[in-house]
Symmetry: D2
Subunit: 388 residues, 4 copies
């Protein structure tokens, strides 16, 4: 029998992600892919029947299938083989209370983004995680793509020189029509201000901001935004356009849209420095375009000799064998596992392990709030003091 106490794996629980959910299944695959987690408990739905069906379908032991997250936190904390970490994949407005319950029970947290629907909650969680000494990872999953890691390291190593321009976008088309009015489940909560805390800016704009943030490493100091709601009857923004002033001198543009026909999940970035540029697109994630100033553009590919060690660390198979969204998500889980396995043994985390934390999650929520503030003020320039 395959032992769930095998020391090579972290015992994991999940809140949310039951029948019909999208991101819960993604987290489960991500946790499983590299075999560093074993899902052993869950409160997969707030509806008891659905919670039970979902848990059993995943092979959970019946006594570890919960309908209530607070009960789950208490019960698992009391077991000797209780979960070590919990993945929170509920709609956004539930992240804060759930995360709080598990942190208070001494359980590490892996939480979907945006981490909360307001910065006060995010600050509360940050303080609580610090106080309890628990890990709090936020799944800004796009930052774990190998070639994003490659890009980040190139910028840090100065290979692009001084960064001048950042151009990032995240374009989708799935909300180009008012499908939330027809009961589409994903659309319904993601366009509900109460449950989502914002529209395109929170759902995907935050990913775009974070992608730029992780690569460029400069804080945004001010921004001006157009917050658009194009689809009739929609209660949140479905398109947002932002000018950015970075603290290190870079200037940027960010576009996030869910009403852009022809773009399924088109997150892409260009970073332009005094010595060269990088271009990367999430839909073809294994390739990074690098142009050293005055030379031909190079197609730097994951899994080849040209990929640097930061990329190689989170890569599994050779170049030309495409890795995708699930692999990157799994890489983020792998980073968390490396940290937790080390912590369990009292070792320091391996060097170079990195993942977005509640600090980054807080800054993301502050960015969302600044964009909303600017948008509601007719696009006025709005200062941003991050992470305070």
């Amino acid at each position: 029998m395959n032992d769930s106490n095998f020391p090579g794996r972290i015992r994991l629980g999940m809140v949310g992600g039951g029948e019909g959910a999208f991101i819960g299944a993604v987290h489960r695959i991500a946790a499983r892919l590299d075999d560093r987690f074993e899902l052993v408990a869950g409160a997969l739905s707030s509806r008891p029947d659905a919670a039970r069906r979902s848990g059993l379908a995943l092979g959970l032991a019946p006594d570890r299938v919960y309908a209530d997250y607070a009960e789950m936190a208490r019960a698992e904390a009391a077991r000797t083989d209780g979960i070590e970490a919990v993945s929170i994949v509920t709609p956004n407005h539930m992240h804060a209370p759930v995360a709080r319950a598990f942190l208070e029970a001494g359980i590490h947290v892996i939480c979907d983004k945006p981490v909360t629907t307001n910065s006060a909650d995010a600050r509360m969680l940050r303080d609580l995680a610090r106080e309890r000494g628990r890990l709090f990872a936020v799944t800004h999953n796009y930052s774990a793509y190998p070639m994003v890691r490659h890009a980040r390291k190139m910028v840090r190593d100065g290979l692009l020189g001084e960064i001048r321009v950042v151009n990032v976008r995240y374009a989708q088309d799935w909300l180009a029509e008012p499908i939330e009015q027809d009961g589409q489940k994903q659309a319904a909560w993601r366009t509900d201000p109460a449950r989502a805390g914002g529209g395109a800016i929170g759902d995907i704009g935050t990913h775009a901001w974070q992608l730029a943030d992780t690569i460029v490493g400069q804080p945004v100091e001010a921004l001006a935004a157009q917050l658009n709601s194009f689809v009739p009857g929609r209660a949140v923004d479905d398109d947002v356009q932002v000018l950015l002033r970075y603290g290190g001198g870079a200037r940027g543009m960010l576009w996030a849209s869910q009403v852009a026909p022809g773009h399924a999940n088109d997150l892409r970035i260009g970073v332009y420095g005094s010595r060269g540029s990088l271009q990367w697109a999430q839909e073809t994630p294994d390739d990074l375009l690098w142009t050293p100033l005055g030379e031909p553009t190079r197609i730097v590919r994951r899994g080849t000799a040209a990929a640097n060690e930061a990329a190689a660390r989170v890569s599994r198979i050779p170049g030309g064998h495409p890795e995708g969204y699930l692999e990157a998500f799994a890489a983020l889980y792998g980073e968390v596992a490396a940290h937790l396995l080390a912590a369990r043994d009292g070792r320091p985390a391996p060097p170079d392990v990195e993942f977005p934390t509640i600090e980054d999650g807080l800054r993301a929520v502050e960015f969302i709030e600044a964009v909303q503030a600017s948008g509601f003020a007719g696009g006025a320039w709005t200062a941003l003091t991050s992470g305070t």
Copy 2:
């Protein structure tokens, strides 16, 4: 002997474009490509020796090689076989006086862009052209690409529904270093405020604006801009980022940069409507991506059955035989020729002939001025009342 009075061709003169110039040679090829113009006179340089050498090298008759544009206007107007139109390809600050001289001599004008270095001059030229009843074309050449014509017609025919988002950029890298300080001729005048009237915004931002303008057909009503000058010692902007509010409800972003390594001449646009989208990139101009909402993206190609009549009108050879920059520039000249040949015969211009005029040139200069005003005011939103 091939007769320069062959009625199928317009007798053309040129001011500027002598030895070492880039855009003058482009205009000459464009005029010649479809065999509708015959270059017969020129003041190709303000330096008499250079003017003479340049004219003779082009096969001009010695008595029609001029060193002074004003003398050329007078002399050609007096000849029975004098030029019918003049192409003005000098640095920007000379456009206005040269155009004025030829208009006053009753000669049609084809002028490079931006048409003037300030809107007052553009307004003066507009009024003068109206008063004298002369044609005044401005070579916003990118609007003559066949698939831009195709796109324009699709939008006008309502195939994209209501336009929501416009995303246009024009990125280059040739000014990423201060080459103007090393005497590079093109760089020198284009980064000199006195001769250019602006930097990236005037040189290429104006093309980006015009491309969006010709396709979308909505006026920009307000904008907010970051006007950046990244290269040390540079006297003009070399990068500009703009948020746009269109009069018809669309919202847009424009990025023009001359310091973006990896982009040679990357003018591209995405237009997103309620029923579908279009994407076009100047560096692969024969293909237009069209996504009808909810359907796969189609690659619509110039020279095939899928290209509409607006594209076919300005296309020469079958799909897969790439046409490029010179062909599009020639298409613009072809439109002017069609107009002038009809006018010469007292016929109305053929239906569907179109080219940017001094009205468009004026609006382009007003756009430049608004971007500069916003940029100098820290990115403040600036209203734009065009073409008045």
Copy 3:
């Protein structure tokens, strides 16, 4: 505790795939990704120490870590909780004896390709699998990509009309230099005729053949081949070029190369019929180009409404969230699991489940042998009677 007897999962063993192996790790991820297999036993290496280290590192119970595959077959067959299926991921020459041992023990087989190093062995395995009534899957993994399934269905549904031309290639560059002489493990056995049974034709040409075979559905009746060995000192072919005559009237070309710089794993195919064409490339697997004759090319994308049900069955996440090599490999494992879970319950396999079997594996080996025969005969046309 997570029960390895959870009925939703197949109990799996593995032979080969220990330390330093590539494809063994791929099979394990593929088996795990969709949570339909639990790896519970293994003979991961023929060296006892390596077998033990590898097994324990994967969390196998010590008593189910074997050094000898024959002992493993016997021991597992004797357990009530013994493995239901075995994955064989050894070098090619060991496939036949290992598969035979497990079939004779009544255990289902999942075997890497080429299934054997000669067709006599493949025929023996086919007969044995039939006789014992065991499933025998061959991991021609590329056939499980969603858009390959889409393509296959389109051809079967007649949407391309009569198939005229098939153009398939599989180009790599990792053997462009004699790295096998420097002890690179993968290169060493793959270029050893005794262990590999052939070079590029067996390692990747067989994938190319199978990709065409699964989409086009016509048998190859004759072929002419150039079997090249470009790298000095290499004992097997590293490049092969083949003309193909299909039984249904199509004509084709196949190129497989391991000495083509610039190609990492560039498997791609074009299929041209009287009513349209399809083009697909493994390095960007989510997109399929479909050109209905006389119309623009469409980019049909996995995970969107345009993907047909054959694609949707083996797809997990929405379009624009790229799936890759591991997902396709997992899809093949998922098909096998669906078949085995049904068989375990005495149900028929779900409709539409499909995976390459020993019949396909045999035909692949016959193809390899025909290419070798033609190549050794100076490229002579060679008839091919498949699957007999």
Copy 4:
């Protein structure tokens, strides 16, 4: 008046290319684009009325509009301002008699391809051109693309090492249906064995061969071909697939098809050597992919610092301003002009001037004949002794 005797231009005549022709108009634009030719005479059609209308529409003097090519050759040879060169753009079967007439009149010849419909005629023309000391250029126009020149030079300079594999194709779709039976003029003569001398192999396969030939510089020594005629009722091949053995050790594949939906004019080549590879596609001709072995692929672009001098010589405008089919055709005309202008002055041709000659044209016809011989013999390997 613009003097047709301007010494900077060659006086040119044309045979064929009247109303409704495609390639004649292309030759005229190509001759005109760089202003090194002046078209002054023509026998544009064998039908007198059409010849007259076509000539006058082009602005030719009435006395230099001919209905008979032989008369034109005589009359022009007798004029002091007679044509120096003639462009022959008739259907293929007329190339030989027309070229002969002009060579015998002492006039240089520029002839479309394939230069003749059989190698005996080509040999006759070669001998005649030698004997009369006249230039005989064959418009294998694709060899004049700047990045083809770049590629050719790289191979010659040894930057790719020893060439191993050549993969070339030319795929079109315009003959996927029997449009010749509906009177389409281009289709009618190109699918008529008497006028075309072959089908896809002659019309486009010859271009593919020549592209490989000019870059690789090794003679084909033997080949095996499938010569297919897929469209019902078609009298010539519409698809051909060839294995190639080069004299220098390279092995190759060539595919030419006019029944491949989705390909408009998709001529492309990959050349793989021991030190790296090149890939080029005619539909995006400004970019050449260069992969030095073991390094990332580089996108080498025309008009940038990375393009070598062989590319720069035949390039006009900066990178990112796309040049296309007409520019490359014009570059070939420019090479001929450079040669003729030097010859007129008694100077040697400038170094590096190169264009396909009757020697190349003869070898192309020999290649066609060998492919046809192999195809008619069921794909048998056929030796090829070129240029004898």
